[in-house]
């Protein structure tokens, strides 16, 4: 998240991840620091820090 909102803020960034409690895959796409796509739609993520 630090990268997405910092060094990579002007880039389109895809993050492939997974739920730590299961084997479910998560894909988030950011463009210029903002989320433009999340799969699955039920994904909960926190943008924080500072």
């Amino acid at each position: 998240m630090l990268l997405v909102s910092g060094k990579l803020t002007n880039e389109k960034v895809t993050i492939d991840d997974s739920s730590p409690e299961s084997t479910a895959r998560i894909r988030l796409i950011f463009d210029k620091g903002k989320v433009i796509s999340e799969e699955p739609a039920s994904t909960v993520f926190f943008l924080g820090g500072g």
């Binding site: 630090l2 990268l3 060094k7 990579l8 880039e11 389109k12 960034v13 895809t14 993050i15 492939d16 991840d17 997974s18 730590p20 409690e21 299961s22 084997t23 895959r25």
Partner: protein, 193 residues
């Protein structure tokens, strides 16, 4: 002129040295990589730590367009496992983070979560479904996890026929076997911590 006794002593000492050299040899040779594999390791050592990178072997191989096989990945993974002195990232995040693919991590988690929660061990079909891979890929992943001594075969468990080595059951629940793969539009891919 050397006495016979002295000659024997010297020969014994020399054979002792040879024995030592032969014993020490395979451990070193086992870790030797071919040129292409060394290139992947060099790429990783240079990449790790940049932008919080904890890039894994498979991603480095893709970046370098090196043909992948389970065997080559295992050779490089074993090298990383045996050489934590290569980079602080190995020591801080552990070799498991760096040598397993995302699929292998999820397969490990499927078994570990079941065991932690006291559920029956999932079958290969159940693992494949949970992770979103084919049964053949699930089997290959299980074999790789066995080779890294994360799983051990155990026919008594039912399911896929493996148990998790106790160390990994107790190992950082919810923080283990995670991955965060970053892909940029310019094609660069890396894992972050």
């Amino acid at each position: 002129m050397l006495s016979v006794r002295c000659k024997y002593s010297l020969m014994l000492a020399a054979s002792g040295l040879l024995l030592f050299a032969r014993t020490a040899g395979p451990a070193v040779n086992q870790g030797q990589l071919n040129g292409q594999e060394q290139k992947v390791i060099d790429y990783l050592v240079n990449d790790w730590g940049q932008d919080f990178s904890v890039t894994s072997v498979d991603i480095a191989m893709t970046a370098l367009r090196v043909e992948q096989s389970d065997e080559t990945r295992f050779r490089m993974g074993s090298y990383i496992k045996a050489h934590p002195e290569l980079h602080e990232v190995i020591r801080r995040w552990g070799w498991v983070t760096l040598v397993l693919t995302a699929d292998e991590k999820l397969i490990a988690r499927a078994l570990i979560n079941a065991e932690r929660e006291g559920k029956p061990e999932p079958t290969i079909a159940e693992i494949a479904k949970a992770v979103g891979v084919s049964e053949s890929q699930a089997k290959r992943g299980l074999v790789m996890l066995e080779r890294y001594e994360i799983l051990k075969p155990d026919a008594k468990t039912g399911g896929a026929g493996y148990t998790v080595v106790p160390h990994y059951i107790k190992w950082e629940p919810r923080l283990d076997f995670v991955f965060h793969k970053v892909s940029l539009d310019n094609g660069r891919q890396f894992n972050t911590n």
